[in-house]
Amino acid sequence: MSRLDPPRVSRRSFLSLASIGSFLAALGTAAAGILRLPNPAVLPGPLRRFKLGVPEQFSVGSENAFPDANLVLFRDDDGFYAISSTCTHLGCTVARSNEGFACPCHGSRFDSRGNVVGGPAPRGLPWLEVSRTADGSLVINADNEVPAGTRYKV
């Protein structure tokens, strides 16, 4: 062996490196699994999907409040839309008013499209996703918001 030869990685330290490396890899793999655990694979609690009946039940221009589902379902010429009744300020349930909606807690006011017209609410009332189930009835998914103005056409 001359000084010009590359230094040999002796078996001892290769073993050391390999064992420490595999140890760290094992730790990392375990950490990956552990970190996934707190993320719920399926959201607990009752479903926040509300089946509201077939589209034919709701005439054009109608509005129907569903207090159990905390939303109001509208139908106009362009289609269906559902507006949540939960005030975007601090979560109270808004009431229907002449101009749209009014919140009894801190005085937020919304027009009939859910846009804020007064009070402390930071943004408009959420529009909720409207779709249909396979058997044809309308279903509102309260966990999914859609941009204001989205209509569901039947």
Partner: protein, 485 residues
């Protein structure tokens, strides 16, 4: 050396961690089922709605959580197509739910296990079926699911074509006169256990020793109906002689007997009415009472039957010669108070559960049309107890038993008999016997076996068994508690 161990152990650790991750995330049964379903959706995405459903479909765990019912049902993870009418021709588990049930019982509100049982929290079929798993209520076979309708509905008000087996089973229970030995709703005999919550039983509460696997409650019930003593050793239950279909129907009826605690909002209105009506029920007719409670032991009642299990004769209660001699009040008293110590139960409202009107009605049904005889007076001769005893031992004890009890013939020493039968009745019966029964006539006009003196002696001896302190017989009205043990 330690480093080799460290290396090996770390590699093994990584291997098994990865293995577990793969097993959980890629090899789960539900995942491949959902991918299959997505393919089906793709095939069927020929119109707007189909395309919309395909676009919205996500491969993920799905569940229906219903705190009110205390259930979390994950069946919908694999059964994706149950509310999609287009899936009617697809194989399970993708197929549409049969019949129109989901229209009135949406999955979002009811879940699945309230009707089908099974292990709701499971995410694969074997665990959901829960037949060989530690779970109280395995999945019901499809034909038996109708049993659970009774949880929320009054089964009698449901259309027969929806619950054919349940309806048939309910009728069979009455026709086979199961109530003669079993209580249901507080009414019935006492030779067998009460069946009110039979549907709530788990397999641990039934004797599975003689049953071939699978050890499910319904398999047990069906086998038990077809061969009681074969399933429960030393069972006294008479074989009801059922066909396979009848056994199935009765099993469905048994499974429906479950006093399950369901929130009121889930109960159908007729169920609430049914619960109320149970408190104020309409009396059955005499014929119905006889069919449901008496027929199993007494048969058609016109002749004596020999009971193999209990090794005794069962009286012919519709026999003409009995009914001619026994008056209505006496008949009612005997039904009301039974024969304590024998297989004849007390049918009084607080015990056997029959209403006074029902007891009277069945008494009338028994009598139907048999004219009442006026019985002759007893011989006016003083009786000798000792003579009576030896006469009794020679002529009567063989069938009626040593002390008038525990023989193979009706217990004339039984307190209820002693207090309801008149002296005239006793003498009349000894004189003329009973047609269609083994009781001979001991004073036939052409060939009298006993004299009047003999009869007096016998009567006096027989009366020594009357309970002390009991008043002389004077028939009370039905419902009376006078002087009964």
């Amino acid at each position: 050396m330690y480093r080799w161990a460290l290396l090996l152990a770390s590699l093994l650790t990584i291997a098994f961690l990865v293995g577990a991750a793969v097993r959980e995330n890629y090899l789960g049964q539900w995942r491949s089922v959902q991918m299959q379903y997505r393919d089906i959706l793709r095939e069927k995405a020929t119109d707007d709605r189909g395309r919309e459903l395909l676009a919205r479909y996500r491969v993920e765990l799905k569940q229906v959580s219903l705190p009110a019912l205390g259930t979390v049902d994950r069946c919908v993870t694999c059964h994706n197509g149950i509310d999609d009418p287009r899936m009617a021709d697809e194989p399970l588990p993708h197929r549409t739910h049969p019949k129109d049930i989901l229209r009135t019982h949406p999955v979002d509100r009811f879940g699945c296990t309230i009707c089908h049982h099974g292990q709701g929290p499971a995410t694969n079929f074997e665990d959901a079926k829960a037949e060989d798993v530690f779970w109280d209520y395995p999945l019901l076979p499809p034909e038996m699911t109708q049993a659970t309708c009774a949880t929320c509905h009054d089964a009698d008000k449901l259309p027969a074509d929806q619950i054919p087996l349940l309806r048939a089973g309910t009728k069979l229970y009455q026709q086979k006169s199961c109530g003669g030995c079993h209580k249901l709703g507080g009414r019935g005999g006492v030779l067998g256990p009460a069946l009110d919550n039979e549907g709530a039983k788990t397999k641990h509460q039934l004797t599975m020793v003689n049953l071939k696997p699978p050890h499910t409650t319904w398999a047990w019930m069906q086998a038990h109906f077809r061969d009681p003593a074969g399933i429960v050793a030393a069972s006294q239950m008479r074989n009801p002689t059922l066909t396979q279909h009848e056994a199935l129907a009765l099993t469905v009826f048994m499974l429906s007997q479950w006093k399950r605690d369901v929130p009121e909002s889930y109960l159908a209105p007729d169920k609430v009415e049914q619960k109320y009506a149970a408190l104020h029920r309409q009396p059955l007719t005499g014929e119905q009472v006889y069919e449901q409670y008496c027929k199993t032991c007494h048969g058609n009642g016109t002749y004596t039957r020999w009971d193999k299990t209990f090794k005794r004769f069962v009286p012919a209660i519709r026999g003409a010669s009995l009914l001619a001699a026994e008056d209505r009040a006496c008949l009612i008293e005997n039904i009301q108070f039974g024969r304590p110590g024998t297989q004849m139960p007390t049918w009084d409202l607080r015990a056997g559960g029959l209403l006074p009107e029902e007891i009277a009605a069945v008494a009338d049904y028994l009598r139907a049309g048999v004219p009442q005889l006026k019985l002759a007076a007893v011989p006016a001769l003083p009786g000798d107890i000792e003579r009576g005893r030896s006469l009794y031992l020679r002529n009567c004890a063989g069938c009626h038993g040593h002390q008038g009890r525990a023989g193979i013939a009706p217990e004339i020493g039984n307190p209820v008999f002693q207090q309801s039968a008149t002296d005239e009745f006793i003498v009349h019966t000894i004189r003329f016997g009973r047609q269609n029964t083994p009781m001979p006539a001991f004073q036939r006009p052409d060939a009298p076996a006993l004299s009047d003196q003999d009869l007096s002696d016998l009567l006096v001896f027989i009366r020594t068994w009357r309970p002390k302190g009991a008043p002389a017989v004077a028939h009370a009205n039905p419902g009376s508690t006078r002087g009964m043990p």
